[in-house]
């Protein structure tokens, strides 16, 4: 990394604030914090136990208790027992939660459209292709296919 990357870092930070600003604003319209939005995103395609969710979000499990309490009170999430282990609490989205998540996704699409449309089709594809390796962490050593020799 050299200081030639200053413009790149600046662009990444600014686009991050732009996306987060849109998400924060859209979330606020539905009384959802960024964290609640993330929970909804994670639970869209699977149920998860409290500890798992906390690890995913980088939060303490006690924080999750409150977060899930509030979303459950609003009917967006529900808690369920885990048949295999009596200590575990599974969390999953209700139909109302799914509907809300879809609406938020659509709103984000619309919020980012003006910025994205400043690039033509070819450049959009280029950008998507350049971001992909940036956001995809390389596999950990143990998970890599063994090098042939």
């Amino acid at each position: 990394m050299t200081s030639d990357d200053d413009a790149l870092i600046d662009g990444l930070v600014r686009s991050a604030f732009q996306v987060m600003g849109a998400l924060t604003r859209i979330g606020a319209e539905h009384d959802l914090s960024l964290t609640q939005l993330r929970v909804l995103g994670i639970l869209r395609d699977r149920r998860a136990r409290m500890t798992e969710l906390a690890a995913h979000l980088g939060l303490d499990k006690s924080t999750l208790s409150g977060l899930v309490d509030r979303a459950e009170r609003r009917g967006l999430l529900a808690r369920g027992r885990n048949p295999g282990d009596g200590r575990v609490v599974d969390v999953f989205m209700t139909p109302a939660g799914h509907e809300l998540a879809e609406r938020v996704e659509e709103q984000l699409r619309r919020a980012l459209a003006p910025a994205i449309e400043r690039l033509d089709r070819g450049r959009r594809d280029d950008l998507a292709g350049l971001l992909e390796p940036l956001v995809t962490p390389p596999l950990p050593v143990e998970a890599r296919p063994a090098p042939r020799r």
Copy 2:
């Protein structure tokens, strides 16, 4: 905007969370929230009045009072009177604040390096060039140079 942009939106959102995650973690090491970090970023090269700062951050002025209180107690910011208008309170960074801001910047550089280094030099420049129009809002109509005719 078409659904062909799904991969692009996904990349933008994921890179946003990656950058914000790094900033949140680095901030936490110094007991600074994302908002405090933004204040430090804004005040690096200029002083600003409370209301101006609040507008910049999209926060209520009362929120700024608390934010500045805490940063001032830590010696990172200071309040000053405005000579032109007795109602105004100017805020500016102390030398300690500047030092901290520099350390945070350096840490962010280091945190993003592994991801950025997954792209070669040419691709980094391409990415910076593609992000630039995305994060630069077009001038409002009144501010545009009049079209010749």
